[in-house]
Subunit: 355 residues, 2 copies
Amino acid sequence: MVVSLEKHVCHDKKAKVPDQQLVFGRTFTDHMFVADYTAGVGWHDLRIQPYQPLTLDPSAIVFHYGQTVFEGLKAYKSPNGMVRLFRPNLNFERMNESCQRMSMPAIDPEAMLESLIELIKIEKDWIPTAPGTSLYIRPFMIATEGYLGVAPSQKYKFMIILSPVGSYYKEGIAPVKILVENQYVRAVAGGTGTAKTAGNYAASLKAQEKATEEGYSQVMWLDGVERKYIEEVGSMNIFFKIDGKVVTPALNGSILDGITRRSIIDMLRYWEVPVIERRISMEEIREAHRTGKLEEAWGTGTAAVISPIGEFKWQNELFYVNNGQAGELSSRLYDTLTGIQSGQLPDPFGWTIEF
Amino acid sequence: MVVSLEKHVCHDKKAKVPDQQLVFGRTFTDHMFVADYTAGVGWHDLRIQPYQPLTLDPSAIVFHYGQTVFEGLKAYKSPNGMVRLFRPNLNFERMNESCQRMSMPAIDPEAMLESLIELIKIEKDWIPTAPGTSLYIRPFMIATEGYLGVAPSQKYKFMIILSPVGSYYKEGIAPVKILVENQYVRAVAGGTGTAKTAGNYAASLKAQEKATEEGYSQVMWLDGVERKYIEEVGSMNIFFKIDGKVVTPALNGSILDGITRRSIIDMLRYWEVPVIERRISMEEIREAHRTGKLEEAWGTGTAAVISPIGEFKWQNELFYVNNGQAGELSSRLYDTLTGIQSGQLPDPFGWTIEF
């Protein structure tokens, strides 16, 4: 162990929620990891402690100026009883990129991964085992200095909390209906779109509300400059299969560099399916739909892994994809990736770690 | 009194900081105002209580998805000993507009103003009296529900905290040097730029750091679409005096509708100085500078009121304004507006309230 980690284990354990009753992000385990940062000192007091409320001054910078970053990943229990993580190093490395944009201090990815593993070892009985369930891991960092000046905080807390989550698809992988958003914008190059920071998600709520009211489950974001090019879908990256080839928006300075996105690209290349990262306009999707070449569409993200898209609404037009059914390639990607993540299938990429 | 307001007054009062030692946003008074919101119930438990830390679950939405809005205004002690507020109704009305954008519940502006007045009455000894000092008022609302799903919170806290602040200009009104930002973007139409929400401020920190490193005190933001048109300066609105006329960027969907901005426009019209709200490009500023028509430039905001600009750096060009000195009109605006706010001058606009 490279880090000096204090452990305060509690004896009063919470009752576990049965796997079938688990939802997303409502149940938390008995312990959490916390580290404090003070300018001039660095990170200190790394500790595992009972899950408990945070106590912050009302003037803490996080409440006023939103200086915060987060990550999301999942732990699974393998068939062999080991705990399995999927490319966790990429999450801690991406967190440092987010911190860079938000003028926040870097963490040591290795030490944080080691601390996460120690935390999960203590909480391993919280990992659900029913198909599709997992232990969702939320590392996050917040600015805690009490100061109303608009300036980077001199103090931060980095924390990891754990939440057992239910299956995203209760009744098999099901396609979603997407509303293409023309009024609101998620992010623009030069802004914070590539960082996993609070403000991007706050900005998305209004459009999501509007989509829900219209009976759509997610929003598809267009670029903020020309309002023509496809960016993301809800808080997922997006892929299309057009005329046998897979295309996904290139990382352009406003799109999140998704870890599921990267893994899907790698898997497609391994399978020798052509995959191209480039700019994609809504006009092109309309044309592909009109000519019958829009074969599949899906979102990618940690929560859903693969979310097939069955319908788009753009202005007043409706585009159905694959008759509103999950496509063959989406389903194969979902089965393979969740199989690798949960340990049901071999991992030819060396993406998973077990302990 | 229309609101039912509980008061828990503390007996252990903090020592006051001498007026000359006051800075911005570091000292807080003995009490704060708090109200809670629960979906389906509305706002409840309005109370004045001792200033104290907030206790929130680590999964509270504010820490992860930044659902938060705030306001800023100032109380002064009039020469007649009364407390004076400047257009406070506009702050609570604007907060509701911010809440609308951020999918947060509306407040009752009248009830909140009444609660603010009750709070200030208890804290009136905290209002500093030295020239240029004031009691800064920070109303803010944060999402407090513990939930990791990206969705509007079902619970909120609205709070008002008070901070005695020193004079913005310790040695008379002094011009600042501004770096025109070409890489980072504050906001774009369709985003959250018109809302006073945390994410806009978090997004600004990196550019501000870069400006500070280059010896500039603030950043000037260009539009995120064409990177040509002037938006704001730091967290202030901006005005130029060109060839005898005042121009300021029109409210375009990405600029904050500043209360000082509005007041300056009204004062200029009252003085019969021509003032135009329209799009202004950096090219136009360069040209006005080249032909000697760029007479003055200043930022407007609650903290500085008027902040004259003595120098711009755009790419590799330097533009000096009025030989780096505060201009006649900027100074007159500053003297008149701070005179009205503090009660040193009559208020022909009916902008102030006293109690």
